[in-house]
């Protein structure tokens, strides 16, 4: 195993009781499991990013014939399935939750370590099955990642296989949720009351409840799609008396809360990063903690806003629109608290802070566009256009994924005992930020102009904007490759990092980088809140 830290026996990476491939594939160490998820998810991210790159390329006249229309349908379907189910939903919980939750609460591991490993295997199995659907017999699914009936029941592509893969992935999410809830309740160090928990833990906890309570609805919905395809049970298929709108309801009952599984932990990570680089305690700790629960709760009630133009009753439309406006409130509370945390802090400008600030900006744009499209009359014009695509990339990519990248920059030295080149990360930021806004800001414009989403071709009047958007995608990909390359390089050649390069005060910064297998020599006893900074400069 290419072990970046060849040094001490004290590192979980070089743990002698867990040698070689077996030591990793059969590990029950939460830190190793987090790293396993990281490696897999980054690989899947690169694959899906390439698909996105290709989708944009094909919009240029010069590359028009590169793929057929059928293939284009498969491209956006698979891009969505991989990004959503193999990257953003597992997201921060799978990597940073696994690695850090026990450490942050002063424990040696999660409540169910073997179940944790099983979660990873469900993840990999689901990924392999979903990816297999790209290549086998019927061809890659072409329904969009949303698998709407009746097309998903009729199409001859490998929908059943892909959907079964997602079903398996759901188990990973549910079991991780169960593990995290139990861990948070049972394994906190003495003195670590709920209101002394780091805010990242609150984010993981709130998200875990959604993982437990919403994912099973997706599971049953996917099973029903498979049964519909195989046996024609008639629950969704209108030609057999079924209700296609019922599918949409059941699908979105999970898939909307899913976006809160994506964002709430990311927000939690931001709540960790900001106090460290402002060297002062978080403003409004309880407000942020409660807002995590509120977002998870109210966020489970808004799913109908994906269906405003599908034919729901007027009553349902109005109720869902109202609830959608309400759910913006707890998120806004967080933004105000974050900004207040920074105000008059002793700002130490570092890469994690840069990406955290970028998160706030991009998430605000995404969130506000969400409020706009939550208005019924506006939604009629904007639904299924590029505006929607722009919106969700601002929140899922600019929000959740940027939160992931910020968290990676923050905890990389802790996880691997190495520091990366700050210069190269700053260099990557420029093409990332400019490219991102060209790409997705351009999509917002295209949407308002009326360009529908998931279309292989476009009318001439949209062409100039499409070119701008594609060029943006090139810059973004360039920046991402630099970012990833810098971190990969640091894994092997980076300077050794100390236990606390950022002068943080939460528990992970008290132990070595990388941490020893058992996390703590002696379990800590907690006597204060999580963000107590020493007076004066560090």
């Amino acid at each position: 195993m290419n072990s970046p830290a060849e040094a001490s026996q004290a590192s979980y990476l070089a743990d002698p009781s867990g040698k070689g491939l077996r030591g990793w594939l059969l590990t029950v160490d939460h830190k190793r499991i987090g790293v396993l998820y990281l490696l897999a998810m980054m690989s899947f991210f690169v694959v899906a990013m390439s698909l996105g790159f290709l989708m944009r390329l094909v919009q240029l006249t010069a590359f028009k014939g590169l793929v057929s229309a059928q293939t284009y349908n498969a491209l956006f379907t698979v891009h969505g399935v991989i990004m959503i189910f193999l990257f953003v939903i597992p997201g921060l919980p799978a990597v940073f939750g696994n690695f850090l939750l026990p450490i942050l609460i002063g424990a040696r591991d999660v409540a169910f370590p073997r179940l944790n490993l099983a979660s990873w295997y469900f993840f990999m199995a689901g990924a392999l099955v979903a990816l297999a659907s790209l290549f086998l017999g019927g061809g890659a699914p072409d329904t969009g990642w949303t698998f709407y009936v009746p097309f998903s029941v009729r199409t001859t592509t490998n929908v059943s296989l892909a959907v079964f893969g997602v079903f398996l992935l759901g188990f990973s999410s549910m079991l991780t949720g169960i593990n995290f809830i139990t861990t948070t309740h049972r394994l906190r160090a003495p003195g670590m009351t709920f209101f002394r928990l780091p805010l990242f833990v609150w984010g993981l906890y709130a998200s875990a409840w959604v993982q437990v309570l919403a994912t099973p609805i997706l599971a049953i919905t996917l099973v029903l799609v498979i049964l519909e395809r195989l046996f024609g049970v008639g629950i969704f298929d209108p030609s057999r008396g079924g209700d296609p709108l019922l599918y949409q309801h059941l699908f979105w009952i999970y898939s909307h809360p899913a976006v809160y599984i994506m964002i709430v932990p990311a927000m939690g990570a931001i709540s960790e990063i900001l106090p460290t680089f402002a060297q002062r305690t978080v403003f409004g700790y309880k407000a942020i903690a409660y807002s995590s629960l509120a977002i998870a709760g109210v966020g489970s009630l808004v799913w109908g806003h994906h269906m405003f133009t599908s034919g729901m009753s007027d009553a349902a439309n109005v109720i869902f629109s109202l609830l959608t406006m309400v759910v913006a409130i707890p998120s806004a509370i967080k933004v105000f608290n974050w900004v207040s945390t920074l105000y008059r802090g002793a700002i130490d400008f570092q890469p994690p802070l840069l990406f955290a600030l970028t998160f706030i900006v991009l998430f605000c744009i995404g969130g506000l566009t969400g409020v706009i499209q939550g208005a019924l009359s506006v939604n009629i014009h904007l639904h299924d256009t590029y505006w929607i695509v722009g919106h969700f990339h601002y929140v899922m990519f600019g929000g959740a994924a940027f939160g992931f990248f910020a968290a990676l920059l923050y905890w990389f030295p802790k996880m691997f005992g190495r520091m990366y080149s700050r210069a190269w990360i700053y260099a990557s930021w420029f093409p990332i930020f400019i490219g991102f806004n060209m790409l997705y800001g351009g999509m917002l414009v295209l949407g308002v102009m009326g360009m529908p989403r998931r279309y292989y071709a476009h009318l001439p009047r949209f062409h100039a904007m499409h070119v701008e958007v594609t060029v943006g995608s090139w810059l973004l990909v360039l920046g991402l490759l630099i970012y990833l390359g810098t971190l990969v390089y640091a894994l092997f050649r980076g300077e050794r990092a100390g236990s606390n390069p950022w002068h943080g005060v939460t528990l992970e910064w008290r132990i070595a980088s990388p941490p020893p297998p058992d996390n703590f020599a002696e379990l800590p006893v907690i006597t204060t809140g999580p963000y107590v900074f020493p007076e004066g400069p560090p």
């Binding site: 409840w209 209700d243 709108l245 489970s300 009630l301 007027d314 349902a316």
Partner: protein, 96 residues
């Protein structure tokens, strides 16, 4: 044996369980009778007697009676979530 903190060591609950079982059988019979009286009664029975039966199993067989706030909250939140899904979905399905 390692007793769970919830149950009393030497005492047996066998008699209680049998009583609950008998009650469940009675309720089942009642449900069957009520259902024969027509659709409305059948639906009413479904909405009252059935949750009652489920409640008995939860409370006695599954020991919810002895559990603390956390587990009861888990159950309540789960059921509440389902109810809300039902209600919001029916805001569409029933009024379309």
């Amino acid at each position: 044996m390692d007793p769970s903190p919830q149950t009393l060591p030497a005492e047996t609950r066998a008699a209680l369980y049998v009583q609950v079982w008998a009650a469940l059988l009675v309720l089942t019979g009642l449900l069957a009778l009520v259902s024969r009286q027509g659709q409305t009664f059948a639906t009413l029975g479904l909405l009252t007697l059935t949750p009652l039966k489920a409640g008995l199993v939860l409370y006695f067989f599954m020991h919810l009676k002895d559990e603390g706030l956390l587990l009861r909250t888990v159950v309540l939140v789960t059921l509440g979530t389902l109810l809300i899904f039902f209600a919001l979905l029916f805001a569409d399905a029933a009024l379309r």
